[in-house]
C-alpha cells in the first residue's frame, strides 16, 4: 500500500524567525494523522512543507522511500483540500474536479468517466454544470474533496477543511470524511485547531506547539496518558483542571500529595525523582470530579452550564482559577451553592515542576486500542 511519509530533521525558518526547529515524524501508509495545536504552532506550515507549497530550510521528506524534498507539488502525488476550498471560480464543478486530470494529460473520455464517478460518490451529479458561486458551503467543500479524490493521490492533505462551515454541517462533514477514509484507506493528513475533530477522526494525533511535537499517539493514549501539561490541557473539552499541590510522600504505591485546602490524595504514578516538599501540579478532568459529600475540594458554584445530557459546574475554589466539574444532566446544584468535589486518584495526573507527566503505574486499557476492527475480507478496491 502506498502513502508512507517520513520526515527527518525538517526545519523551516523565515529569515531569523524559526517556525519549525526540527521535526521527525513517521506516517504509516493508510493512517489518518491529525496535526493539532493552537494558532501559530506550525501545523499548517508543516502540511504545506509536505505538500511542496513551501520549501524546507533543512531536513528531508520521503514519500514511499523517495526523497521529495526538492520536488514541486505537481510531482509529489498528493492532493490537498484547502480551508477556503480554493475552487476555480471560472470553471464548472465538472471542470474543477477534472482539472488535475487534464493537467496530467488524460484523454477526455477517461476524465469524464472519473469525474462522474467521483460526483456520484459525493452526491454532486446534479451540480456538475454549475459554477462554484452557485453552490452552498457544504457543496463547495464536496467539490474540493472530489477534486482531490479523482487524482487517486498517495495521500490526502486537509488544511482545516471544516473551519468555514456552520456547526451542524461540520458534524456531518466530519462523518463523511471519516467514512471516506474508511472506504478509500488512503493516507490522510489533517490539520485542525479543533481537538474534537482530532479525537474523532485520527488514528494518530500529533500535538504541535511552537513548531515542536509535544506528543504523538492515538487519541485515547493522548487522552489518558498526556506526557506534559500542554498536551493535558489541550486535549479534552472542557479543559483539564490543574491544582497546585505539594508532595508529602513518594513510594512504590504512588505519590501522596497535599491539595489546596489540606486534604491528601495518593496518585498511582511512578515517583521518579520526587521528594517530599516538591511542588507538583495535579491534573483532574471535569468528568473525574464528582460533587459528593466528603470531597477533597471545597468551593462555591459560580456558573452552571446545563446541556441537558450533562451539566458543567464552574466552581470557585480558594487560590485557584475556576474548577470545572461534570455532573449528571439532572443534577440539581445551583449557582452560589457550596459543593465539595471528590477526586478519584486513579484518574488523576501528576506533573513535575517542568510540566512533565509522571508515568501511571497502570496504563488505561483503551490507550492501546486500535480504532478499526480488522476486516474479515480484503477491501473491494481496485487501485
Amino acid at each position: 500500500m502506498t502513502g508512507r511519509i517520513v520526515l527527518r530533521g525538517v526545519n523551516k525558518t523565515f529569515g531569523e524567525h524559526v517556525i519549525i526547529p526540527s521535526i521527525d515524524l513517521e506516517i504509516e501508509a493508510g493512517q489518518f494523522v491529525v496535526f493539532v495545536g493552537p494558532s501559530g504552532c506550525g501545523k499548517s506550515t508543516l502540511l504545506r512543507l509536505i505538500a511542496g507549497l513551501e520549501d524546507t530550510t533543512a531536513g528531508k521528506i520521503e514519500i514511499d522511500g523517495v526523497d521529495v524534498s526538492n520536488l514541486p507539488p505537481a510531482k509529489r502525488g498528493l492532493s490537498m483540500v484547502f480551508q477556503s476550498y480554493a475552487l476555480y471560480p471560472h470553471m464548472s464543478v465538472r471542470g474543477n474536479i477534472g482539472f488535475g486530470l487534464k493537467m496530467a494529460g488524460m484523454p477526455k473520455e477517461a476524465i469524464r468517466q472519473k469525474v462522474e464517478k467521483a460526483a456520484s460518490v459525493l452526491n454532486l451529479t446534479n451540480y456538475l454544470d454549475r459554477k462554484p458561486r452557485q453552490l452552498s458551503g457544504g457543496q463547495r467543500q464536496r467539490v474540493a474533496i472530489g477534486r482531490a479524490i479523482v487524482r487517486e493521490p498517495k495521500a490526502f492533505l486537509f488544511d482545516e477543511p471544516l473551519s468555514n462551515l456552520d456547526a451542524a454541517l461540520r458534524v456531518q462533514m466530519r462523518l463523511e470524511i471519516a467514512q471516506l477514509h474508511e472506504s478509500l484507506t488512503t493516507t490522510m493528513i489533517y490539520v485542525t485547531h479543533d481537538q474534537i475533530e482530532a479525537m474523532t477522526l485520527a488514528d494518530k494525533i500529533v500535538v504541535l506547539n511552537s513548531g515542536n511535537i509535544e506528543q504523538a499517539g492515538s487519541p485515547l493514549e493522548l487522552y489518558h496518558h498526556p506526557v506534559n501539561l500542554f498536551v493535558a490541557g489541550f486535549i479534552g473539552s472542557p479543559k483539564m483542571n490543574f491544582f497546585a499541590a505539594q508532595v508529602r510522600a513518594a513510594g512504590a504505591a504512588g505519590v501522596t500529595v497535599a491539595l489546596p485546602g489540606g486534604r491528601e490524595i495518593t496518585v498511582p504514578v511512578t515517583a521518579g525523582n520526587l521528594r517530599p516538599g516538591d511542588k507538583v501540579t495535579l491534573g483532574a478532568r471535569p468528568e473525574h470530579l464528582m460533587p459528593a459529600a466528603d470531597g477533597e475540594i471545597l468551593g462555591q458554584v459560580a456558573v452552571a452550564e446545563r446541556l441537558g445530557g450533562e451539566t458543567y459546574l464552574y466552581i470557585r475554589v480558594a487560590g485557584q482559577p475556576l474548577v470545572v466539574a461534570q455532573a449528571a444532566g439532572n443534577d440539581t446544584t445551583r449557582v452560589h451553592d457550596q459543593v465539595t468535589l471528590r477526586i478519584e486518584p486513579e484518574t488523576c495526573h501528576l506533573f513535575d515542576t517542568e510540566g512533565r507527566a509522571l508515568p501511571h503505574l497502570v496504563r488505561h486499557p483503551l490507550a492501546e486500542m486500535r480504532p478499526t476492527a480488522p476486516q474479515t475480507q480484503p477491501a473491494q478496491h481496485a487501485r
Binding site: 476555480y88 471560480p89 471560472h90
Partner: protein, 276 residues
C-alpha cells in the same frame, strides 16, 4: 437603522445631480451643436440653442481640408499599440509583485507611481534631443515608446491591485493539481483576471488617446494623432467656430463612445485601491 431618505429629499438630490451634470456637460453639448451650424449662425447673438439651420457642411470641409481619417488612424495605432505593449510588460511584473513579493516590492510600486508626479515638461528637452538624434521624431514607433513608458506605472499598478484580489490559495490548488507555472497563468490566473485586464486596457487606451503634450511636441505630420489635429485648427488665421467645433467633435467622438460603453469598468478601475 438605515437612514430613510424622504421622497422630497431624494427628488431634490436627483434634481441637483442632473443640474450639476448638465452644467458640466454643457460646454461639450454646445460644441457638438455648434458643429452642426453654419459659420454665420455659430457666432450670432443672441446664441441659438436648438432652432437653427442644421447642416453637415462643416464635417465635409474639415475632412477635405485636413485628412481626418489619417489622424484618427494614428490615434488608434498609438493608443492601442502603447497599451498592448504595456500589458505585455506589466502582466509578468504585476504577477511577480502580487504573488512573489520581496522586501522592496512596495517601495518599487510607490516609486513607479511617483514618476507620474513629475511635470513632463521637465523631460521635454532631453527626450526631444534624443528623438531628433535617433531619427525618432514624428514616427509612430517613437510615440508608442513614449506613451508606453508614460502609462506603464499605471498599468502595472492597476494589474497589481487586480491580481492581489485573486486568492493565492486558488493558484496553490492549481499547483497541487499538477499545473506548471505556465499552465497556472494560462488556465487559472488569466481567465480570473480578464475583467481586470479589460478595465486596465480601456483606461489606458483613453489615457493614451488624450495624451496631448508629447504628441504635440514630438510629431508633425506622419505620426500626428487627433490631438494634433485639433491643435492645428486653433490657428491665428481667424476663428472658425463651426469648423473648429466640427473638428473637435470628430476628434473626441470615438473616445466618448468608448468611454460611454465602458463606464462601469472605468469607475471600478479608477476607484480601486480606494475602498477595499
Amino acid at each position: 437603522m438605515a437612514r430613510a431618505a424622504s421622497l422630497q429629499r431624494r427628488t431634490a438630490t436627483t434634481a441637483a445631480g442632473w443640474i450639476v451634470g448638465f452644467l458640466i456637460f454643457f460646454p461639450i453639448l454646445w460644441m457638438v451643436l455648434t458643429s452642426f451650424k453654419t459659420e454665420l449662425e455659430a457666432f450670432s447673438t443672441p446664441p441659438k440653442f436648438l432652432f437653427f439651420h442644421w447642416t453637415l457642411e462643416n464635417f465635409g470641409i474639415v475632412q477635405e481640408r485636413s485628412n481626418y481619417l489619417r489622424f484618427a488612424a494614428n490615434s488608434i495605432i498609438l493608443s492601442l499599440g502603447s497599451t498592448l505593449l504595456g500589458l505585455l510588460f506589466a502582466v509578468p511584473a504585476a504577477w511577480a509583485m502580487a504573488f512573489a513579493p520581496g522586501k522592496r516590492t512596495k517601495d518599487l510600486l510607490l516609486w513607479m507611481l511617483s514618476t507620474k508626479m513629475m511635470p513632463p515638461v521637465g523631460a521635454l528637452i532631453p527626450i526631444y534631443l534624443l528623438f531628433k538624434n535617433t531619427g525618432l521624431l514624428d514616427t509612430r514607433g517613437g510615440l508608442i515608446a513614449v506613451e508606453f513608458l508614460i502609462n506603464l506605472p499605471i498599468i502595472v499598478w492597476m494589474l497589481f491591485t487586480y491580481f492581489k484580489e485573486i486568492p493565492g490559495e486558488i493558484l496553490e490548488a492549481a499547483r497541487m493539481d499538477g499545473a506548471s507555472l505556465w499552465k497556472e497563468i494560462v488556465y487559472v490566473l488569466t481567465p480570473m483576471a480578464i475583467p481586470g485586464i479589460a478595465s486596465t486596457l480601456l483606461l489606458n487606451v483613453i489615457l493614451a488617446w488624450n495624451e496631448a503634450f508629447w504628441t504635440l511636441n514630438l510629431t508633425t505630420t506622419n505620426a500626428a494623432p487627433l490631438t494634433a489635429f485639433i491643435a492645428s485648427y486653433s490657428s491665428p488665421e481667424g476663428l472658425f467656430w463651426a469648423k473648429l467645433s466640427a473638428a473637435s467633435t470628430m476628434a473626441i467622438a470615438p473616445i466618448l463612445i468608448l468611454g460611454w460603453f465602458s463606464q462601469r469598468q472605468l469607475v471600478r478601475g479608477l476607484t480601486f485601491g480606494a475602498v477595499k
